[in-house]
């Protein structure tokens, strides 16, 4: 079977699932009358799962569709490896037919967008993550959501999300990518607000949508500018033009290409939750936990990273834009990590951690290490999905409680959850041998050694690594070890989750352990099969020009030293967390008291939300109105009053003109339309003879025309 030709089926399967669910799902999953949809109390005796045999069908259809996509993706990628160029592009049909327009340089170009798919090493990594991790999260959801109403709605949205995400990563042009981009945004909105009767959930959904829309504006502008400068939005054409040397690299300053790059990156900051638009992601945790894992950790939020990597040819020509990307990434990484230090809601800690890890990816993109960014995206998908699902399992166990201050000592009660989360935490902290170490260490090394990197960027990255280790082990200690702080009546019900949840956790934990071995440091000299990731992706980002001798300038001993340093920082972070929250639980409290202002500042997330409220929501929205009002009263009104008499005079003229000329013309038109409609109806006498007469008259008129001519 030729999977490459059937590539269109990959997004189609989840779309089919979504259509089935959203159109017919209600038949499969009738809701009990008089009970609003809402979050049930997980693990409590009330809220009996009203599982019907029909509902079982949903459990098969929705994960099954994603599994089918996964199988087809594997097949297609296997066959892609055998293609010479490892690029497979297929155009299903022309979506927007050729529209001629004038480019910025005056040439006439034709704008065309196809419904086409592009499978290359970059998109192949993405579809594996989306379908593979997506499938596991679907399976998990069958267990996690079993007590909820609107089961079919949830899975319909989830499948729809997978469809749009696959469209996003498989699109062969920016226009079609944007369809997926908006589509995942829509699904994210729907799923954050899944518990729609909860005001906080609705607000969070709205916030995500609005903030994303701000970023989208940048993306659209970038796309339009690209269209008018390059004349195309097709990836292969854009890359060919940019790599042809037609546009020189903008090393000296800030040119039009940099403008395109910055605008597109602004779009990415919205979708991938970077400074200044990261504020929506923590609030998005109002959605069900599997949604947080799939959309807000493993896939959708990485769309911005994917898009920038996809535009590598553009960013390679614009060092100043790349520098912006790197700085924003590094800043986001450390900012979010500091906030994560003091949060008490288990999902919020993970949300800020996600923002921070995405910052790492952008740091890598900014210093030109594109494959490393995708590598981190890949490993992060495993361990962050694992951590989110694990936190979901914990929440499930303690009856919906999310505050870590009311957990503790859960290690032996939910052992599978504990051990899988343990693996995930070790992985994200950066202990050698697990996934997070390899990708994070490579990012740090690139930040240090790349021609675009610097010691400052490296140091911020290193500090973030230490903070990451600390807040993750704070989370582990508060949740699983120490003294139990669980409410007594909940304590009795604490139980391990069903197999549908623990099996995905286990598989993801295995992935978190092993995924990193595809990209071991070159220093280790482990042989080709341990560098697979780089060799697979490298051709995507080759500029064609000679590689700058970046790495050659640094000695191996330096690299060993830096690696050792980052491991040391991770171990120190873990140890401090262990000491603070296990051995001496009194220290955090006393620290909190002695550094009250700093703690308050971090706990309130640097007051960014409040600042945004002040600046944009109240400031521009309401205060701006006042400023404009004052401007109106003084400057505009003055001019208006001065011009008043002139207006009054000219108004007399225009009244005359209006009454006699304009109104007259309008009346004349409507009058003549009416007048014309009379004879048109007069013809209808209802008598056959008259009608026949008209037929003959018409024919004779035709004859007359020929004779008279």
């Amino acid at each position: 079977m030729n999977f490459l030709d059937q590539i269109w089926l990959i997004p189609l399967f989840p779309l089919l699932g979504a259509a089935l669910m959203l159109f017919f799902g209600k038949l499969l999953d009738p809701q009990p009358v008089g009970q609003a949809s809402g979050p049930a109390h997980h693990g409590q005796a009330e809220g009996l799962p009203h599982q019907t045999s029909l509902r079982k069908l949903i459990d098969f259809i929705c994960p099954g569709m994603v599994l089918l996509s996964f199988v087809f993706s594997l097949g297609a990628i296997y066959q892609l490896r055998q293609l010479p160029g490892r690029v497979y592009q297929v155009i299903q049909f022309t979506w927007i037919a050729g529209l001629p327009f004038h480019m910025a340089n005056g040439h006439l170009a034709t704008f065309q967008a196809d419904w086409g798919f592009l499978l290359d090493p970059l998109s192949s990594v993405m579809i594996l993550v989306v379908t593979g991790v997506g499938f596991l999260i679907h399976v998990y959801s069958t267990g996690y959501m079993a007590h909820d109403n609107g089961y079919y709605r949830f899975f319909g949205y989830l499948n729809l999300f997978v469809f749009f995400m696959l469209m996003l990563v498989l699109a062969n042009n920016y226009m079609l990518l944007f369809v997926g981009w908006e589509g995942v945004g829509l699904c994210s909105y729907l799923l954050i607000g899944f518990y729609f009767h909860k005001k906080s959930a609705c607000d969070a959904g709205k916030k995500a949508f609005v903030v994303n829309r701000v970023g989208d504006a940048g993306f659209v502008l970038g796309m339009l500018l690209m269209m008018s400068v390059l004349g195309t939005v097709k990836f292969t054409d854009v890359n060919a033009i940019l790599r042809s040397g037609q546009f020189p690299a903008e090393t000296a300053g800030f040119g039009v290409l940099s403008a395109i790059a910055i605008l597109m990156f602004f779009g990415a900051t919205g979708k991938s939750a970077q400074v200044p638009l990261y504020v929506w992601l923590p609030d998005a945790m109002e959605g069900p936990t599997p949604v947080s894992a799939l959309i807000h950790a493993a896939t959708m939020v990485t769309a911005g990273v994917y898009m920038v990597a996809r535009s590598a040819a553009l960013f390679q020509l614009t060092p100043s834009a790349s520098a912006v990307v790197a700085v924003v990434g590094a800043f986001t990484a450390i900012l979010a990590a500091t906030i994560a230090l003091v949060q008490n809601d288990i999902k919020r800690v993970l949300a800020y951690s996600t923002v921070s890890q995405l910052g790492y990816m952008f740091l890598a993109l900014g210093v030109g290490a594109y494959w490393v960014a995708i590598f981190h995206l890949f490993t992060h998908a495993f361990f962050k999905a694992l951590l989110f699902l694990g936190s979901g399992s914990v929440i499930h166990a303690v009856g919906g409680e999310q505050d870590m201050r009311r957990m503790g000592a859960l290690k032996n009660k939910i052992p599978i959850t504990h051990w899988t989360m343990f693996a995930g935490s070790v992985a994200i902290a950066g202990i050698p041998g697990l996934a997070g170490f390899f990708s994070k260490d490579e990012i740090l090394w690139q930040a240090y050694s790349s021609p675009l990197g610097s010691k400052a960027l490296w140091f911020v990255g290193l500090a973030t690594a230490g903070l990451t280790a600390f807040y993750m082990w704070r989370l582990m200690n508060l949740t699983f070890y120490g003294r139990s702080r669980v409410a007594p009546e909940t304590e009795k019900h604490v139980h391990e989750s069903p197999a549908s949840m623990t099996v995905p956790l286990t598989l993801l934990a295995i992935g978190s352990v092993l995924a990193g071995w595809l990209g071991t440091p070159k220093l280790w000299n482990l042989g080709a099969s341990f560098h697979k990731f780089e060799t697979w992706l490298a051709p995507m980002f080759a500029t064609g020009a000679a590689e700058p001798a970046g790495e050659a300038g640094h000695s191996a001993s330096l690299e060993w030293m830096l690696m050792g340093l980052s491991v040391a920082v991770a171990i120190v972070g873990i140890s401090i967390a262990r000491y603070f929250y296990h051995n001496r639980p009194d220290i955090p409290d006393s620290l909190e008291k002695s550094f009250k202002p700093l703690h308050t500042l971090l706990y309130n997330k640097w007051y960014v939300d409040e600042i945004y409220d002040f600046l944009f929501v109240n400031g521009l929205g309401k205060g701006g109105g006042r400023v404009f009002g004052a401007f109106d009263r003084t400057v505009v009104d003055g001019g208006v009053n001065g011009a008043g008499w002139l207006t009054r005079f000219s108004s007399k003229v225009s009244i005359w003109w209006d009454t006699w000329i304009v109104d007259g013309a309008v009346r004349l038109t409507s009058f003549s339309v009416k007048l014309l409609s009379y004879p048109a109806c007069l013809l209808e006498t209802g008598r056959v003879q008259t009608y026949a007469f008209f037929v003959v008259a018409g024919l004779l008129a035709f004859f007359g025309y020929y004779i008279a001519r």
């Binding site: 339309v673 009416k674 048109a680 037929v695 008259a697 018409g698 035709f702 020929y706 004779i707």
Partner: protein
């Protein structure tokens, strides 16, 4: 030269849709007599099955393109497009008829048999490559539809409409026959390929079918007036069928009097088939003499648009209003014909495709609301439909917006391609007048929308029964197709462009 009377199998395959329809129509007649059941869903189901089989046959025939029966028929993209179109029109008509007929207590086999015969005639028209075959197809289609108009025997309006339609129809067809005779007199042939050859070169021979050679001569090449007269005579017959001015005058009376599903059918099926013949005769056979017939079509296009739209402004009866709108739409299509280009031909095909769905949909809603005995036909009767039956109103909204030509509907792209083709052929005045006309048209369609959404429910809206599955399917299919053509026009346009390029 001995003539082999046994048709070859390829010939039969190319005639397969007509064969299937005729056989099934006959079978329905016989069944109705045997079963002695006045009223049954089974007839409708059988007729849908027949139409689906014919659709399959039409597609199958497309895989074996080429002339058949000594070049009297030709199966090409144009033929297949129109065959498929009229068959789909038939399916939608049957779907919309189930409930309508049951309400009138007249679900008989004859109704469906007549429909199948009429469609068979239209399929034949679409594929005809010979003026006599055109005539035969025209007659088969017309005779069946005369009866269908008067199908509700006890309805006085229907009786009157049928008689008028029959008398005037026969009258107009007679002119068509005169035209055929005159063409034969000029060129010595009635084969359309032959006519084209004769008009291109005064004396020429061409291969006609297996082994036989057809030699034609244009006796009257120095006197183009005869060509013009022949074109005018043919135009009467075809213009009557498509209700183009000045031969449109029967349409309002007949459309109003006929049962609504029949009106839906009349305003789309025979119209599409007649336009197929139009394209074949005027764009292919008479194409070399284009300068002679272009003024006729130009005049007729403008007159149809103007008369249709302006008269529609004053109607209070919805069916009558839609009848005038149908005249106006024939005018738009004639604009594309006037362009005399492959783009114009493609625009004709695309427009008729889009028009079929939106018009059937609109008439189906009218029939649904009219109630027993078609009591409610006034625009006032649509008051408050949006409150009482939001789904029905929403779909009618889609159809009306498409008839206006609002973007994202098939009607928009239809008009867009038509006026684009006209502009490319430098028909600036016709384009300007056409666009003004479509602006006028928006008024009377919008009136219905205002009624539906901004008025209190009328008696008709209160009494209206819920949508039945058959009608619901017809409406959904039409609405989806209308939107689909408005969002992905290329799928149909590619095919029609290809067919139009192949036509010559």
């Amino acid at each position: 030269m001995p003539v082999d009377l046994m048709p070859a199998s390829a010939d039969l395959i190319r005639l397969l849709p007509e064969i299937v329809l005729t056989l099934m129509g006959t079978l329905l007649m016989v069944l109705a007599a045997i079963l002695r059941k006045r009223s049954s869903n089974a007839y409708g189901n059988l007729s849908i099955a027949a139409l689906l089989a014919a659709l399959g046959a039409a597609v199958y025939a497309y895989t074996r393109q080429g002339p058949a029966f000594g070049n009297m028929l030709v199966v090409d993209g144009l033929a297949t497009f129109f065959r498929a179109l009229v068959i789909v029109v038939g399916i939608l008509t049957v779907l919309a008829s189930y409930r309508f007929l049951r309400r009138q207590g007249a679900e008989t086999g004859e109704y469906h048999a007549l429909l199948l015969f009429s469609i068979a005639g239209q399929c034949l028209m679409a594929a005809a490559n010979d003026l006599i075959v055109v005539f035969i197809g025209l007659e088969i289609s017309s005779l069946a539809s005369y009866v269908m108009v008067g199908y509700l025997r006890d309805d006085k309006r229907a009786n009157e409409a049928a008689l008028k339609y029959f008398l005037l129809g026969s009258f107009a067809t007679a002119f068509f026959l005169y035209g055929v005779a005159l063409v034969y007199g000029i060129t010595g042939t009635i084969n359309l390929s032959g006519v084209r050859a004769a008009l291109t070169a005064p004396e020429s021979c061409l291969q006609a079918g297996a082994g036989s050679v057809l030699c034609v001569q244009n006796w009257l090449a120095p006197w183009p007036i005869f060509l013009g007269v022949a074109a005018a005579l043919l135009f009467v017959g075809l213009g009557f069928k498509v209700s183009a001015a000045p031969f449109q005058i029967w349409a309002p009376d007949v459309y109003q009097g006929a049962p609504s599903p029949v009106t839906a059918f009349l305003s789309t099926g025979p119209k599409a088939a007649a336009f197929a013949v139009f394209l074949r005769i005027f764009m292919s056979a008479f194409e070399p003499g284009g300068a002679a017939w272009e003024p006729l079509v130009w005049f007729s296009a403008l007159a149809s648009m103007t008369i249709g739209n302006f008269a529609a402004l004053r109607q209070s009866n919805v069916k009558r209003m839609l009848a005038y709108s149908s005249i106006a739409h024939a005018g738009y299509v004639l604009v594309a014909l006037t362009a005399r280009s492959a783009d114009g031909a493609a625009a004709v095909m695309f427009y008729l495709g889009a028009y079929a769905f939106m018009n059937i949909g609109a008439f189906a809603v009218v029939g649904h609301l009219a109630g027993k005995g078609e009591r409610y036909q006034d625009i006032e009767d649509f008051g408050g439909l949006g409150q009482k039956q939001p789904l029905t109103a929403a779909m009618l909204t889609i159809f009306l917006l498409s008839l206006i030509g609002v973007p994202l509907t098939g009607g928009f792209f239809g008009k867009f391609y038509i006026f684009k083709a006209a502009l490319e052929s430098h028909l600036v005045w016709l384009t300007v007048l056409g666009l003004l006309n479509s602006a006028v048209a928006a008024y009377y369609y919008l009136r219905v929308l205002v009624m539906m959404y901004f008025r209190e429910p009328s008696q008709a809206a209160i009494e209206a029964e819920p949508l039945r599955p058959g009608l619901r399917a017809a409406l959904l299919v039409s609405a989806v197709a209308t939107l689909f053509l408005g969002i992905f026009p290329n799928w149909v346009l590619d095919f029609s462009n290809k067919s139009a390029a192949m036509m010559k």
